[in-house]
Symmetry: C2
Subunit: 233 residues, 2 copies
Amino acid sequence: MPRTRGRAPDGKGRPDALSQEVIVGAAVALLDEHGERGLTFRLLAKRLDTGPGALYWHVANKDELVALAADQVLGRAFVADPHVEEDAVAGLRALAVAVFDALDLHPWAASHVTAPATLENALRLLDRIGTLVARTGLPAERHFAVSTAISYYITGVSAEIIAPGLSVGTDTSRAAFLTRTAEHWATLDPAEYPFLTGTTTDLRDHDDRDQFTTGLDLLLNGLSATAVPRPLA
Amino acid sequence: MPRTRGRAPDGKGRPDALSQEVIVGAAVALLDEHGERGLTFRLLAKRLDTGPGALYWHVANKDELVALAADQVLGRAFVADPHVEEDAVAGLRALAVAVFDALDLHPWAASHVTAPATLENALRLLDRIGTLVARTGLPAERHFAVSTAISYYITGVSAEIIAPGLSVGTDTSRAAFLTRTAEHWATLDPAEYPFLTGTTTDLRDHDDRDQFTTGLDLLLNGLSATAVPRPLA
DNA sequence: ACCTGAACACCGTTCAAGT
DNA sequence: ACCTGAACACCGTTCAAGT
């Protein structure tokens, strides 16, 4: 049962020595290239010039590896996030969009960012959300519920929008998928599906990112509507 | 390339003959028992008294099988849903909760219900949402965006809440997972994670279903706040 | 049209053995 | 402490052959 976390504290050792970071970094690259199915311990090991067994010293199994890779990708959202926010709600919006954009660059990652956080960047995300929510003037007893609701929205809806979902393969582009789906909707019985059959052009023309922000703004509007403005000190 | 969909129209044939429905039904049972990894074509074939190859006549591959199984589970939400709704927003809320409850009974299914729907019950869900949204009095050009936003919330957040996410195994219960996570939060540096370290008891004591409805109500509140009441005819 | 089951081409993971 | 690589115990999927 290997339990190591990375390089020894002295920073010595062969420069090409393995560590959890370098393994996870290589995994991200492989995931970007070939998707989750294309990430293989054999292939990853070959890239890193080792045997598959060596990887298990630094990482418990494939699930953990993918989770760590997704968390690394999530971390890139904080680089983009300005963090200096006047308004708390505006800060929440900016943070959410930064996460969406970071995940959008690595579609495989979206569904692996878990909400009750345990990994570093997921923890950081939830903490920032909570801190911003505390500034909105909502009563303290609602902070947890509202913060996790926003966190769930960000990770859950991003995953839903970004992940292919029964993808016929990575070769099919998102646009092609939407066009095909729109064609499918057009063939449905209008008596049974009155809404869908009338909205096929909306499906074809919509923008994923706008879709994300539409729901987000609905959520944040609901927040503002219920928030009591914080009294002056 | 098998393309069949089920029994021949005459309804004849051996009573124990295979069909897509019976295969998907058996898959749901297996998924409930052993989770996604436990669903195997060999095991499924043995249950149905055939060889693995036979299944491929009725189902393209494992991805499609799981997607169909998830859609079957989603369909159970409509049985629970009253469908006779006074208020459109109340109807949306009831529908959303019915979906959450249906998925909560089959955790593996949650992450496989895709939002730009192609399967029967996912189509039905989005159509009902759209029909209800049209009744809220929102301007027509917002119907699509708002409907899909709600649809994304329902499926995305349900998946996030219900799915184990880096589960250490199905043996670990949700409660144990939350307790363990809360303990982890308690060990964090309060200077770095001011919010998380102060909210560990909330995490331990919260209810998943309440969590889902909290965000949902926020979303629906935001909807009501922006909706123009429909003028009388 | 539908089913059979052996075979192909892989996987994740383990573990004795090395350094 | 960390790496090696062969071996184990599986998989999903295909396909010639049957009925």
